[in-house]
Amino acid sequence: MVADNFDEVVDRGESVPELEVAPQDLYHAKSFWTRWIFSQDAKVIGIQYSMTAIAIGLVAMVLSWLMRLQLGFPELFSFLGPAEYYQFVTMHGMIMVIYLLTALFLGGFGNFLIPLMVGSRDMVFPYVNMVSFWVYFLAVLILVSSFFVPGGPTGAGWTLYPPQAITQGTPGSGAGIVLMLISLSVFVVGFTMGGLNYVITILQARTRGMTLMRMPLTVWGIFTATVLALFAFPALIVSCIMMTLDSLLGTSFFMPTIYELGEKLSYGGGSPILFQHLFWFFGHPEVYIVALPAFGIVSDLISVHARKNIFGYRMMVWAIVFIGALSFIVWAHHMYVSGMNPWFGFFFATTTLIIAVPTAIKVYNWVLTLWRGNIKLTLPMLFSLAFIVTFVNGGITGLFLGNVIVDVPLSDTYFVVAHFHMVMGIAPVLVVFGAIYHWFPLITGRFLHEGMGRFHFWVSFLGSYAIYFPMHYLGFIGVPRRYYEMYNSEFIPTSAVGLNQFITIAALTVGFAQIVFLYNIITSAKFGKKAGKNPWQACSLEWQTPDVPPTHGNFGKELPVVYRWAYDFSVPGARDDYIPQNVAPSEVPEAKAEKT
C-alpha cells in the first residue's frame, strides 16, 4: 500500500513527505515476571523459544548417541533393549523435526528477527505471542512426561503409523502414544498463535518504505514457511485427534480389522493409508517449513559475508514462494511402497522432480553471489558454504528417491536415512549454527569465541560427512533402517559392521563438538569479545538499532524509514562497502548505482 498522495509526490520529485504512522501499543513490563518470564517482547520470546528448543534438542542428541552405541557396538553395551531402541528412534526424530527445528526457526529466529528486520516495535499481538510460547512449552513438557509413564514413550517411529502405533507389541502403545498425540496437538495450537503473529506482522506492521520486495530474504523464508505451517499443521492435528480417539475410545478411523496376540480386536473398517495421506500432507510441507527459513537466512549470511548483493533477489523470492506452493502436491512420494496406483506415483514423482527447478535456482544464485565477492571466511560464511555443499548433496539423493523405480528398492534402507539427515537435518542445522554465530553479537553484544567456533565448524562439518556418507553405501547394499542390531543377519555383509562402528565414533565426536559449542555460547555471553554496533557491517535494519542489544520497542524514539533493499553492498562510488537500508539517498550522494 502506498501513501494517499503518492502521485503528487512522484510528480514533484524525490522528496519524501512526512507521513503519520500510528504508534504501536506496547506492553511495558512492570516486574521481573512480566519482563523475563511472561514477557510480551518478541525478542525475549524468541530467546525463550530458542532455549527450550535447544534444551529438548539436546535430549534428542543424547538419544542418538545411545542409538549409535547400540548400532556400532551391540555386544559391548546392554543398556538398550529393542523396545528402548525404537522409543529412542521415535523420540529423536519427532523432537528434532518438530520441537527443535520448527520451533527454533519460526519461534526462535522468527520472533527475534521479524520485528527487527521489518522495522516494527514488536509483533502485532504480543499477548498472543507470549501465550504461544507457553503453549509450546506445555507441549514439550507433555512430550517429556511420556518418558516417565508406564510403558514409556511411543516407539512407533516418528511417522506414528497406525495400526501398529496403538496396538500392543509396539513400545509405548498405551500412554506413550496418547501423550505424543496430545503434545503434537498442543504444539499445533501454540504454533498457530505464533504463526498468526509472524504473518500479520510481516504483512501489516512493516516500517515506512519497507515494501515486500525490500525485505531481507530471511523474512521471506520465515514468512512463507509460516504460511505453509498454518496450512499444513491442521492435517497433523486432524490425524492426531482421530488417532487419539482410535486409541482411547475404540473408534475405527484408521484401524482396520486386526488381530492382536491371536485375539480379534473390536476395531474394523478403518484405513491406515488415510492416516499416511494426512500425515504426509503435513509431513512434506514440514520439510520446507524447516528448509525455507534456512534458505532465507543463508542468503543473507552469504551476501553480508561476501560483501555482495544477493544475486537474483526477485528469483530468490519467487523460488521460495514456488517451492512453498509445490510442497503441497508432492506428499505421496513418501508412500511409494504403500501400494498406490502407479499413475498416482507417476504424478507425485513428476511434481517432486519439478521442485528441483526452483531449488536449483537458489543454489545457482548463492554460488553466483559468491562469484567475485569479497568473501570473508568468517564462521557464518563457513557454515553457509558447508550448507550449500550439504544441501546439494542431500538434494541429489532426493532425485534418486523421488523416482518411484529407484525409491522402491531403496525404501526403508539407510540410504533414506542418509538422504533426509543430509537435506533436512545437517543442512538446516548448519544454517542454525551460522545464524547463531552471525546474530549472537546482536543478541548479547559479544562475539562467540573464534577458536572454539572453528573447532566446532570443522568437527561438525567433516564429522557429519563421516556419519552420513557411509550410510548411503549401507543403503545401497541393502541394510535396512530401524533394525535394533545387525549381527548374525546373513544378508548384511561384514563391511556394514565395521562401517557402523566408524559411524558411531564419528557421531560421538560430532556430539562432543556440540558440547564445545554450548560451552562457547555460555562463556561468550558473559566474557566474549565486545562486538559493538553492526560488527558485520550489514545493511538490514536489525543492525541499525540505537542500542545493542536492542531494547524494548527496538528502535528508540522513532522508527527507521527505509530507502533501499537490504543488499546495498559494494555500491560503486560509495565511501563504505555497505549502505544500510535506512540511509537516505541524500546521505550518500557519491553512490552511483543501487541495483542488482
Binding site: M1, V21, F125, T192, F281, W565
Partner: protein, 211 residues
C-alpha cells in the same frame, strides 16, 4: 484513495529501478487495507476451514466403506440449527446498533447472543444424550464417531468464540469514548466469527444429513 496492489504485482516489482524507488520510499509498510484484527480473524477462519475440510475429506473417504451405518437425526438438531441461525441474525442486529454507537442495544443483543449460544451447546449435549440412550455409541460405527467428533469440534470452536464474546461484552458494558472504534471492531469480529461457525455447522450438518 489508497491504492491496492495484487500479491503478484507486488512480487514482480523491481525495487532497484529509480521509478520504483520513488514509490517504495512512500510505502506505508502495510500490504493490505484490512485492520490487523480483521486480518487475524481471516487467518483463523482459513486455518479452521482447512481443519474442517480435512475432516470432511476423511469423512467422504470413510463413508464408502461397507461398515458405514447412517445415524438418525434427532429433531432437536434442527432446533439447534435454528438457534444458530437466530444468533447470527441477532448479531447482524448488534452490528448495526454498534455502527450507530447505540451500545445499550448492543449490550442487550450480546446478552441474547450469549444465552442462545449456551442454549445451543446445551442442546447439542441433549442430542448426545438422546443418541447414547438409543445405543449410538462413538465406537459402534464410524458414522457415529464422526457425528460426535464434528459436534465436539464445532462446540469447541464456539466455546473459543465465547471467550472473545466475553471480552467484547466487557467493552460493551463499559463503553468509553476512546474505545468506541475498538469496541465496534470487536463486535464486528465477533459477528463474522459467529457467521462463519454457522456456515461450518450448516456444512457439517448437511453432510451428515445427506450421507
Amino acid at each position: 484513495m489508497k491504492k491496492k496492489e495484487s500479491f503478484f504485482k507486488l512480487i514482480t516489482q523491481k525495487p532497484w529501478e529509480p521509478s520504483q524507488v520513488k514509490l517504495d520510499n512512500l510505502h506505508t509498510g502495510e500490504t493490505l487495507t484490512l485492520s490487523k484484527g480483521k486480518l487475524g480473524l481471516r487467518f483463523i477462519m482459513i486455518v479452521s476451514t482447512i481443519f474442517f475440510c480435512l475432516f470432511i475429506v476423511t469423512y467422504a473417504d470413510r463413508m464408502f466403506f461397507p461398515d458405514w451405518e447412517k445415524m438418525p437425526e434427532p429433531s432437536l438438531l434442527w432446533i439447534n440449527t435454528i438457534l444458530l441461525l437466530v444468533t447470527s441474525i441477532v448479531f447482524i442486529n448488534a452490528q448495526i446498533a454498534s455502527k450507530n454507537k447505540d451500545f445499550i442495544k448492543v449490550k442487550k443483543r450480546f446478552l441474547i447472543i450469549g444465552f442462545l449460544s449456551f442454549t445451543f451447546l446445551l442442546g447439542q449435549i441433549f442430542v448426545w444424550n438422546q443418541l447414547i440412550n438409543l445405543g449410538y455409541f462413538m465406537a459402534t460405527n464410524p458414522a457415529n464417531a464422526y457425528f460426535y467428533l464434528f459436534t465436539t469440534l464445532h462446540g469447541l470452536h464456539l466455546m473459543g468464540g465465547l471467550i472473545y464474546w466475553n471480552m467484547t461484552l466487557k467493552k460493551v458494558l463499559k463503553p468509553r469514548e476512546v474505545m468506541v472504534e475498538k469496541t465496534q471492531q470487536a463486535v464486528e469480529l465477533c459477528a463474522i466469527y459467529w457467521h462463519f461457525l454457522f456456515i461450518v455447522w450448516l456444512v457439517l450438518f448437511g453432510l451428515m444429513l445427506l450421507s
